[in-house]
Amino acid sequence: MLSIDRVGMRWPGPDGGTEAIREISFDVGEGDFVCLVGPSGCGKTTLLKCLSGLLTATSGRVALHDRPIDGPPERMAVVFQEYGRSLFPWMTVHGNVALPLRQQKMPKAERERAVAAALAAVDLPGVARQYPWQLSGGMQQRVAIARALAYQPEIMLMDEPFASVDAQTRADLEDLIRSVWREYGMSVVLVTHDIDEAVYLGERVVVLSDKPTVVREELAVDLPAERDQVATKALPAFAEIRSHVYNLIRRSPTTGPTNRLATPSTADTPG
């Protein structure tokens, strides 16, 4: 469905500029859940912006249903890390979720239903009339996810969506994303620097290197569809994939020691 073909991005500057990403290729199928994982500071966000049409890659091609992306495509929703800056503070929660639907000229009754259903899906009933800044960080990110769901996307891109919330909220939101992904049947591409999160959430993991970013390996996550924060993470298969990914990232040629990674203890895990 979404195909990324030798995409490269070079920022202009002296000495030919800086190469952020180099020849990245992978595909996202219908109903797929792909996690892009790489060290902090690699070109993950740049890559995601190229996928969403917010940036135009300097080389290669991004296509949705074989049509090249030259701007934000229809039926693609984006959830950003900075929920506080992504939700419009002058609108209520309801206004935020409804705005893209108003733009689509969705009839009012249908729109109201879609907003209510989306807020129910992220477990946030009863906050529609409040302003985002009256809610906690985790709740604000739920609102951003509800806005994406109400948009009824066929593909949802998420840029480090849980990097700015506390650990407990993060686990809750991870499970929420898995459940809405299964319920809504859309494709999800999620960018993260957290290996555990990538393996726990994804059906497939694309491991990225440090700058200039290339695809180090693409692997299928062979874990049961029903995932659980405790049970799934205790499975030998989970540990195996996690240490594999960890070693891949540590082998990154352009970096030194990978102490910038989120799970340094992974190396000790047997497997």
């Binding site: 984006v78 950003f80 800044w133 009256q134």
Partner: protein, 270 residues
């Protein structure tokens, strides 16, 4: 989450106290003025009691419709046009780098011209009627709105802009629902200055070429040595300015309630 209603209750009582504190000094000054000027025989500084009598005689009668309303109409029309033009041109210059580099020198030049100098030019262009006066008000008071709108639009948060783009919010909805609200705090600061300037320019424009209006009345009274009336006009101008400020503050508080709310909540978190 019950905070908004509670803070609204506190806000009201706090506002009342603030209003009381604000009123202390003016009241004291008026009393002092009244007492010290009571026996005044100075022609230029008549007793306040005489000024107040002149005030009642001048403004609570036919002069209200003959002078006050035309003045308020001019100031209102000039102020309204200045805000609309300033925001519209500011949006254009703020969103286009090309337009900005084309027009920036011109804007900086026009803004540097002291507004009263525009009066003779406007008289040549429009004669002595209302269009002259309104154009002077607009030409002199549009700049703070225009420049603040440019700054507000340029300073639009990147994540906010990306969000609007990703959800394909374009056209008028993007302007009305995203860009203008995001830029509204600096715009409103510009509008506040614009309001003060339009009252000043209203008076200046009315002092030229006769006709009517509060500015005209003050000047006529001064020339015909009707000093209590002159003071009454000045008093009225001060009151009009203060009332305009009160109305503006109420509107601003409504429009930007989200802004103060979100700032308070982010301060509370950190």
């Amino acid at each position: 989450m019950t905070a908004p209603s509670r803070s609204r209750g506190r806000g009201w009582s706090r506002r009342l106290v603030a209003l009381g504190v604000e009123a202390v000094l003016p009241v004291v000054l008026v009393v002092v003025w009244y007492l010290t000027s009571a026996g005044s025989t100075n022609f230029y500084f008549p007793p306040l009691s005489r000024i107040l009598r002149a005030f009642a005689d001048s403004w609570f009668g036919s002069r209200f419709t003959a002078d006050v309303l035309p003045s308020l109409g001019r100031a209102g029309a000039g102020f309204g046009l200045a805000v609309v033009c300033g925001v519209a041109v500011g949006l254009l210059l703020g969103s286009s780098r090309v337009a900005r580099s084309l027009f920036e020198p011109l804007v900086e030049f026009a803004r540097a011209v002291p507004p009263p100098v525009l009066v003779p030019v406007a008289v040549l262009a429009f004669g002595l009627g209302n269009s002259m006066r309104i154009s002077v008000i607009v030409a002199g008071s549009v700049w703070p709105v225009l420049l603040n709108t440019v700054e507000g639009v340029r300073g639009l948060d990147e994540v906010l802009r990306d969000t609007a783009s990703a959800y394909r919010i374009t056209g008028w909805r993007r302007i009305w629902r995203v860009i203008l609200p995001a830029a509204s705090p600096p715009i409103m600061a510009g509008v506040r200055t614009c309001l003060a300037l339009s009252l000043i320019l209203m008076v200046i424009s009315e002092m030229v070429g006769g006709g009517n209006g509060i500015g005209f009345f003050v000047q006529q009274s001064q020339r015909s040595f009707a000093l209590p009336e002159m003071w009454a006009g000045i008093l009225l101008l001060g009151l009009v300015g203060y009332l305009a400020h009160l109305v503006f503050s109420a509107v601003e508080r409504r429009l930007l309630s989200w802004h103060s709310g979100s700032r308070q909540s982010s301060r509370g978190e950190s």
